[in-house]
């Protein structure tokens, strides 16, 4: 096996790509809610900014992150997949995502999450590294904190 074969199953192209060039990796000019996420164990830090639409659904998400490829890519794909979702819906997606990165398997879920979970599926490989699960979930913790009106989250 070559080096690439060994690592590609975990660092799939989509993770590498979004880790390197996040599409949503910036502070929004105007936003309604925001929160910071901190993983003091490894120094990962993320700040998310969320703009809500008239129905309270997520219109846009931006973030500023310092961390590994997995946490940055996760933040970026999160921003992409939560667009248009309300609070409960976002939380449901997070719970399912978290279960997936913990176990490597996608748990039973609402059909409405199907498409997003497919997009997030590349993170399933993270389950092999329990100590890195929190890299993938940190931005989500911050997002949920922002929606809840809490200003800080930790994914210890």
């Amino acid at each position: 096996m070559t080096f690439d074969d060994d690592v590609r199953d975990l660092y799939q192209e989509v993770i590498l790509d979004h880790g390197r060039k996040p599409r949503h990796g910036h502070r929004l000019a105007a936003y309604d809610v925001t929160a910071k996420g901190d993983n003091p164990m490894c120094g990962d830090r993320v700040e998310v900014f969320v703009k809500l639409d008239a129905d309270g659904k997520i219109a846009e998400t931006g973030f500023e992150a310092r961390g590994c490829a997995i946490s940055v890519a996760s933040a970026d794909l999160m921003a992409e997949t939560v667009r248009g979702r309300g609070k409960a819906d976002t939380r449901a997606l997070f719970e399912t995502f978290r279960e997936m990165v913990r176990t490597g398997k996608c748990p039973e879920h609402d059909a409405g999450l199907d498409e997003s979970l497919e997009r997030l599926e590349p993170f399933a490989g993270v389950h092999e590294y329990p100590s890195r699960v929190k890299c993938a979930t940190l931005p989500w913790h911050a997002l949920v904190a922002a929606l809840d009106g809490t200003r800080e989250a930790s994914s210890e």
Partner: protein
């Protein structure tokens, strides 16, 4: 030193990880265990195990002998003047906390200061913060230079007002590899009326430690890094200090007599060993000490110096790789950062090649921040590490960087 022969003493080294040959470069976090350690613990459990001290029966007497032989082995290892100066604890962290409680609260006065350095492990920072907050001592930090050495002028200046009661400092940094000038530190500290504690967690693995030659007052280390089991560590302290210090934990074994009104303490070192000690771990630690002494510190130090030199040469040729620390006197740990890849990603990618390194702040956050970083990867070496393993690391790191570029 015959590294191939040594490798055969460590059963784990023949493991494969993800179908790859294991390349274990995380010994500074915890070292692997030679068969003699594994066997000593197994044999104790199979043939003579019982609780120690006051057993009166055959197995208890044998186990007490074996456990106390560990104390002799430790005393000899450190050239301690007196076996009763060896206190067994769980790990370095507990050893330092013991000093912070029994010497710190017991013998330092509020307003006195504890002086640490800018390259300490959290275990040699937090206990002094807690002492400061509970007891009103001051916490001073001696800065380090850009090359990762103790700034001796600043160190001396921080001693000059005579208020420092204790200097607590690493004997070897677990991040920079820097070995601190122990004798010089002691003579300066003593000249200013301060006692000296060394955190020898890393140093004891790489150097023959002679507490008489160093002249310090306390020396702490941890068994699992010296090829011994977890659950046991060592505090050496001068007898007169141990005599004067109040006990730390109270309970069985550490008393001389107990009434509800008043208890009196057992003699040193038992005064500091409350409850059933880590008996099997003491027996395992003795086997580890016998093992390294049979190899010899000169041999080990030479091997590690050669590995370290090789690693520094190989890694510094990798583009975009920054090594932390360029101390003159350094041991076998090399922490580094890659420009294009986060330390966590580096560690994970190496793991997929079977190469085990550590990534993070290495329990030394303030030191990381001193160098403007949050985390680094770290390769660290043991007696079983080979030059080829370092070559494998270097080759993989080049690929990792390409992968992320």
């Amino acid at each position: 030193m015959n590294v191939e022969k040594i490798r055969r003493d460590f059963p784990i080294l023949s493991q494969t990880i993800r179908g790859k040959k294991l390349v274990f470069l995380d010994s500074a976090a915890s070292a692997q265990k030679p068969r003699v350690v594994i066997d000593a613990m197994r044999e104790a459990m199979e043939t003579q195990y019982a609780n120690v001290h006051r057993g009166l029966h055959w197995m208890s007497e044998r186990t007490t002998d074996a456990y106390e032989a560990a104390r002799d082995a430790v005393a000899a290892l450190m050239n301690a003047p007196d076996r009763d100066e060896i206190v067994f604890v769980r790990n370095s962290t507990e050893a330092i906390n013991l000093v912070a409680h029994s010497f710190g609260r017991g013998m330092l006065k509020p307003g006195q200061a504890v002086l640490i350095s800018g390259m300490e492990h959290h275990s040699n920072i937090v206990p002094w913060q807690m002492l400061r907050d509970a007891h009103g001592t001051e916490l001073r930090v001696a800065p380090i230079t850009d090359s990762g050495e103790l700034d001796m002028a600043a160190f001396e200046a921080l001693l000059s007002d005579g208020r420092v009661g204790l200097v607590a400092i690493t004997h070897m940094s677990n991040v920079l590899g820097t070995v601190t000038p122990a004798e010089r530190i002691v003579s300066l500290a003593h000249a200013h009326g301060a006692k000296v504690l060394f955190d020898g967690s890393q140093a004891i693995v790489h150097r023959a430690i002679d507490v008489r030659a160093i002249g310090c007052d306390f020396y702490a280390w941890t068994g699992h890094k010296l090829y011994g089991p977890t659950g046991i560590g060592v505090l050496w302290a001068r007898r007169e200090l141990l005599e004067a210090m109040p006990p730390f934990l109270g309970g069985g074994e550490m008393i001389s007599s107990v009434t509800y009104e008043k208890s009196t303490w057992a003699r040193v070192p038992y005064k500091f060993e409350a409850g059933t000690p880590a008996i099997l771990e003491g027996i395992g630690l003795k086997a580890a000490i016998d093992y390294v002494r049979a190899i010899g510190y000169d041999e080990m130090a030479a091997h590690e110096a050669s590995l370290t030199e090789h690693a520094l040469a190989r890694l510094s040729r990798i583009e975009g790789l920054r090594i932390l620390g360029q101390a003159q006197d350094r041991g076998g740990v090399v922490a580094f950062a890659l420009d294009k890849a986060h330390a966590h990603d580096v560690a994970t990618l190496l793991d997929r090649q079977g190469i085990a390194v550590r990534a993070g702040h290495h329990c030394a956050e303030p030191l990381m921040h001193r160098f403007g970083l949050d985390s680094t990867a770290r390769a660290s070496f043991g007696i079983y590490t080979t030059h080829e393993e370092i070559d494998a690391l270097a080759a993989s790191l080049t690929r990792v960087r390409e992968f992320f570029t």
